[in-house]
């Protein structure tokens, strides 16, 4: 059934026309050209993102051959989203975040709510040692991990979902004689937290506050979905031993509102065989539209204020930090990204948010779906 569905999607994707007209402010969708422009901006501004070619046979002709999708590797995920399960008691922990400079705009609508500010993960605090067997242990194969998912149990027809490879299957071939003795110059992960510095090793389980960490890493890809005309996010995860994560393990890192609903495992479109977890893009456009509307209003306001300021000859000190936001769009946005902005006094300068900013906003939206995966490296802005 799933295979048929995927075939159907492939055909639908093939038949749907390429979006030609820019409409990202009206309904949150973007054209392939705008995707490339926004991707260029993201890769330029944040070096962790790079363009990838992907499998040549799967290349999409509406995108440049060497800019098929965006990739960042090794994104850290320190905790499970399931440990952030939200209760009423946590409501006080909400904190307003502003990612413009609030003093410059004076507009509180620019603020976002961070709901889990300063919250201790509820499963694994030192004060709660009874929960300690939440750690998936190698001696404990059949998913206590999935137990942590509470009532969200996966309909695993194959029984024990098999998060952890069955240790009996690993050939018993420890070879003690392979290396003569311990090498004194090999650093081993210390068992205690005696480290004087405040940098600790991720493989160490215990941290200062007694929180247990299982540092997973994710490779995150952003592709362009032709049918929905939005970017689409893909995740491939690794656990702390760098073993690939299974789908049910990946679902632990997705907020409960979205796991099993909008996140599914699908064939990655730029590879012949790879499967990855993906957030289904059917609602992306409407969410992006709302976010963009709010941000656009703020940006236009700022631009007007700034134009007045520059007209009266007062150079705003904020101008320097923010001016990349309001550079003019020159059609496809392929101009040199480092180019200085046009004079802020120009009449046609008020055009609101540039489409280049689209993916930065998109990542902030994705961060709400995968709260513990640090996809949003753009928080500095």
């Amino acid at each position: 059934m799933h295979a048929i569905q995927q075939q159907y999607w492939a055909v639908r994707d093939y038949l749907s026309p390429v979006l030609k007209e820019s409409k990202f402010k009206e309904h949150g969708r973007i054209t392939p050209e705008e995707f490339v422009a926004a991707g260029d901006f993201l890769a330029y501004k944040f070096g962790v993102w790079t363009w990838e070619k992907g499998d040549a046979s799967k290349a999409r002709d509406y995108l440049p051959a060497d800019k098929q999708y965006l990739l960042t590797r090794g994104v850290a995920c320190l905790r499970r989203a399931t440990s952030l399960a939200y209760t009423d008691a946590d409501e006080d922990a909400e904190r307003l975040l502003s990612f413009g400079d609030l003093s410059s705009t004076g507009n509180e609508a620019d603020e976002w709510v961070e709901t889990h500010a300063g919250r201790v993960a509820n499963h694994d605090s030192a004060a709660n040692p009874g929960e300690i067997d939440e750690i998936p242990d190698v001696d404990d194969p059949a998913g206590t991990v999935s137990g942590a998912m509470g009532n969200l149990s996966l309909s695993g027809a194959n029984g024990g979902i098999g998060e952890i490879p069955d240790m009996d299957d690993i050939p018993d071939m420890e070879e003690e004689g392979l290396e003569a003795g311990d090498d004194e110059a090999t650093a081993t992960a210390p068992k205690t937290t005696a480290s004087s510095s405040n940098v600790i090793d991720g493989s160490k389980v215990e941290v200062a506050k007694g929180n247990l960490l299982q540092v997973r890493t994710y490779d995150v890809m952003i592709t362009y979905d032709k049918y929905y005309q939005t970017p689409r996010i893909w995740l491939i995860g690794y656990d702390e031993n760098r073993t690939p994560l299974t789908p049910s393990q990946i679902f632990q890192d997705i907020s409960a509102d979205h796991a099993f609903k909008t996140v599914t495992i699908e064939a990655f479109p730029h590879s012949a065989s790879l499967q990855a977890a993906s957030v289904h893009p059917c609602k992306h456009a409407s969410v992006m539209k709302k976010v963009i509307e709010r941000m656009n209003a703020t940006v236009i306001e700022e631009q007007q204020a700034q134009r007045k300021a520059s007209a009266s000859g007062v150079a705003s000190p904020k101008e320097k930090q923010k001016k990349w936001l309001f550079r003019r769009t020159s059609g496809n946005g392929k101009e040199d990204k480092t180019q200085a902005p046009t004079s802020p006094g120009a009449e046609d300068d008020i055009e609101g948010m540039r489409v280049d900013f689209y993916l930065v906003v998109f990542l902030k939206f994705i961060a709400s779906i995968v709260p513990t995966i640090e996809v949003d490296s753009t928080t500095a802005f």
């Binding site: 905790r79 201790v120 695993g156 600790i200 031993n241 299974t246 099993f260 495992i265 790879l274 499967q275």
Partner: protein
């Protein structure tokens, strides 16, 4: 003085690598178990700040192999440096178990030693070995990496511990290195301050004699791209670099720069790179030293690892996940 301890490399195998291996096994290798060249890459060790506790957490010291690892002249990803290796796939689990691992390991260390002494090259210093058995029907892959490193006798010692690079070098010096490396990443390089205060000069380690000809020994700096983010342990590639220095440029001490400043650190301000003065054998190294470097498994013992990709590759299991 404390002995320098190095963070071992750990392997990170992307699922795409196993897909590539499946294709290679079925279409090209078939029943052959000949050694095949493979390439991987490593980049600067990352650390991430835990938003709840505020501590910096060092992520692994990873060598990555991916879908393009079997390709001829594969390009390494942005900001990463390549490492080449030997790959050997066995047809049965029995052959995999019975493989003469000591001989395979020695063959790789011989390659490294030859490239150091004969070719005078640093290109093979992070050469690695990967043996696998692919159970294609069950989507299970057994694998074992070795990252051979020569063990110095006596061990290298550090004078006064590792300190932040910003204590020794100026900001413009470090940003000069960053600018040069972001154009062309180098695994190992030499740095010296330039005379007129412009950005520092950088050269390959092979040009040690000419590059440092008029530089006093205490101003010579040998640097490497450090995949470790641990505060007191440099990464594994330094071990063979030190052997290279002991063979060609014996000196009572070397100033080593562990280069750790990736893109983010520059935006954030503070430099994460470390610098330290290492003391080791001052006489020229003639004999090939013993080497270590088999990767430990999940239980921390010397043994193979297994990647079970059935949940992500098996069509029937995938169908169960579908909504």
């Amino acid at each position: 003085m404390p002995i320098v301890q190095f963070t071992p490399l750990s392997s990170l195998v992307q699922p795409a690598f196993w897909h590539a291996l499946t294709d290679l096994k079925i279409d090209v290798l078939r029943l052959s178990d000949d050694a095949v060249p493979v390439s991987g890459s490593y980049s600067i060790g990352r650390s991430v700040k835990d938003r709840e506790t505020g501590v910096e957490i060092a992520l692994g010291c990873n060598l990555v192999v991916g879908g393009e690892s079997f390709a001829q002249n594969a390009q390494s990803p942005a900001h990463a440096v390549p490492a080449t290796g030997v790959f050997k796939n066995y047809n049965t689990i029995e052959e995999f178990k019975a493989a003469d691992k000591t001989a395979l390991f020695n063959a790789v260390t011989d390659d490294i030693w030859r490239s150091i002494t004969v070719d005078r090259s640093t290109a093979q210093l992070t050469r690695f070995l990967l043996i696998t058995f692919a159970d294609l029907k069950k989507y299970k892959y057994y694998y074992w990496f070795a990252f051979p490193a020569f063990a110095a006798k006596p061990a290298w010692e550090i004078d006064g511990g590792w300190g932040p690079a910003s204590d020794v070098y100026g900001e413009s010096f470090l940003s000069g290195i960053h600018a040069a490396l972001s154009i062309a990443p180098r695994a190992f390089f030499l740095v010296k301050p330039s005379k007129n205060g412009s950005p520092p000069e950088i050269a390959p380690v092979e040009e040690y004699d000419t590059f440092f000809a008029d530089v006093p020994p205490e101003e010579r700096t040998v640097a490497f791209l450090d995949p470790s983010a641990a505060p007191t342990n440099p990464g594994w590639p330094l071990r063979n670099l030190l052997v290279y220095l002991a063979v060609h440029h014996p000196a009572s001490q070397h100033r080593i720069l562990c280069w750790r400043d990736s893109e983010g650190a520059v935006h954030g301000g503070a430099s994460r790179s470390l610098v330290g003065v290492l003391r080791g054998p001052s006489s020229k190294l003639e004999e090939k030293p013993a080497a270590v470097g088999w990767e430990k498994n999940v239980q921390g013992k010397l043994g193979p690892r297994v990647a079970d990709l059935a949940p992500m590759m098996d069509p029937t299991r995938l169908a169960d996940q579908a909504v």
